[in-house]
């Protein structure tokens, strides 16, 4: 049906695509550490050594763990397996709340204490009107 040139050009494209996909896959695999935006408390716990470079820790803010005195905010980030204490000075974003997602940027003091320089709120993919939320909670 098609000429041999057409088939060859098609083959050419397919080979380019496969090569590129494999290359990109390998690059991304080897860069995994840099592609992830934050680490979980479990990953922090498993670190071989505490370095003093800037990192990000993410997870849920543990229930009843937020304490604010003067300008200092203390809370616990949990991934429901491990926890890490966070100390932060400054304003927190609007969506920062207990049992909600959070990403803290800063430095590790040791494996269980994290000194944050920036707090980001991470929200989930659920969107609904407030009435629906209340109705769901009553169930």
């Amino acid at each position: 049906m098609y000429g041999s040139k057409v088939k060859l050009r098609f083959l050419f494209i397919v080979i380019i695509l496969i090569t590129l996909i494999l290359t990109i896959f390998l690059i991304l695999k080897s860069l995994e550490e840099n592609v992830v935006y934050f680490q979980s408390p479990t990953e922090i716990k498993l670190l071989s050594e505490v370095k003093d470079n800037k990192i990000r820790v993410g997870g849920m803010v543990k229930k009843d763990s937020i304490s604010i005195n003067a300008n200092e905010v203390r809370f616990i980030i949990t991934d429901f397996k491990n926890e890490i204490n966070v100390i932060y000075t400054g304003a927190v974003p609007n969506l920062f709340a207990e049992e909600k997602g959070v990403v803290a940027e800063g430095f590790l003091k040791d494996r269980s204490v994290f000194s944050a320089t920036k707090i980001l709120a991470k929200h989930d993919e659920n969107y609904m009107p407030p009435e629906v939320k209340t109705a769901l909670e009553e169930k």
Binding site: Y2, V6, R9, F10, I13, I16, L17, L20, I21, I24, L28, E32, V35, V36, Y37, F38, Q39, S40, G58, V92, P93, N94, L95, F96, K100, V103, K118, I119, L120, A121, K122, H123, D124, E125, N126, Y127, M128, P129, P130, E131, V132, K133
Partner: protein, 235 residues
């Protein structure tokens, strides 16, 4: 093959269709905006900030859709040596690029009140920026090369490089830890967005798609006029 791509027939359509598309676009956009900005409920967590979604998400979808289309058309054009496919791609690209930029800008505006930052180098946002760069490369290469054969090959290559980024954008939120939340709308499983918010989102998507179609028709019409004037450069 592709007999129906006769320039004269297409020209008749592309010179008449825009006004109808514009009319439809204005209607859908007006209803969509009223739904999105006034009638739709506020979010339980983000309250009114959620309304940025009705611009942000459709823009991102359209820019991804257009990039996929121009890749498909460029590869088909390359394999079957069809010039018309390249012209369609060329006419589609500008609106895709604009929507990509809109998605990035509205994302930043949305990120500030919700996450607490304008920009984050997370996988979703960075890969979306890379898509914008591919769009830019694509559009620039049409301008710098005079030789048509050369442009066809280079743009095809750019789209092939860029298309690999598209599934990365889609799945970045599932594969890696990102600040960006996972997809709310799933074709196979239940969507995690309430139907009262889904409806305006779909309306706005339709409006943006119509706008892209409008810009495409106008661009494509110009391309056909250029060919007519030159006379030599047939499809």
């Amino acid at each position: 093959m592709f007999k129906f791509f006769e320039p004269n027939k297409i020209f008749k359509i592309t010179s008449r269709a825009p006004k109808y598309v514009l009319f439809l676009f204005i209607i859908v956009l007006s209803i969509g905006l009223v739904e999105a900005l006034i009638l739709s409920p506020e979010d339980y967590k983000q309250s009114h900030a959620v309304r940025i979604m009705y611009v942000h998400v459709p823009s991102a979808w359209i820019s991804l859709g257009i990039f996929s289309s121009i890749t498909f058309l460029s590869i088909s054009g390359f394999v079957f040596k069809n010039k018309n496919f390249f012209l369609i791609s060329k006419s589609l690209a500008p609106s895709g690029f604009v929507f990509n930029i809109i998605a990035l800008v509205t994302g930043a505006i949305w990120g500030k009140p919700t996450w607490g930052t304008w920009w984050a180098w997370d996988a979703r946002i960075t890969s979306m920026l890379i898509l914008a760069l591919f769009y830019a490369m694509y559009l620039i290469s049409w301008r710098i090369y005079e030789d048509k054969e050369k442009v066809f090959k280079i743009t095809t290559f750019i789209t092939i490089l860029g298309i690999i980024n598209v599934p990365i954008i889609k799945y970045s939120v599932d594969w890696w830890n990102t600040l960006h939340q996972p997809a709310s709308i799933n074709i196979l499983s239940k969507s995690s967005i309430h139907s009262s918010m889904l409806f305006p989102l779909m309306l706005m998507t339709a409006a943006f798609a119509l706008f892209s179609l409008l810009i495409f028709l106008m661009k494509y019409n110009t391309e056909l006029i250029k060919i007519k004037n030159r006379g030599l450069d047939r499809l």
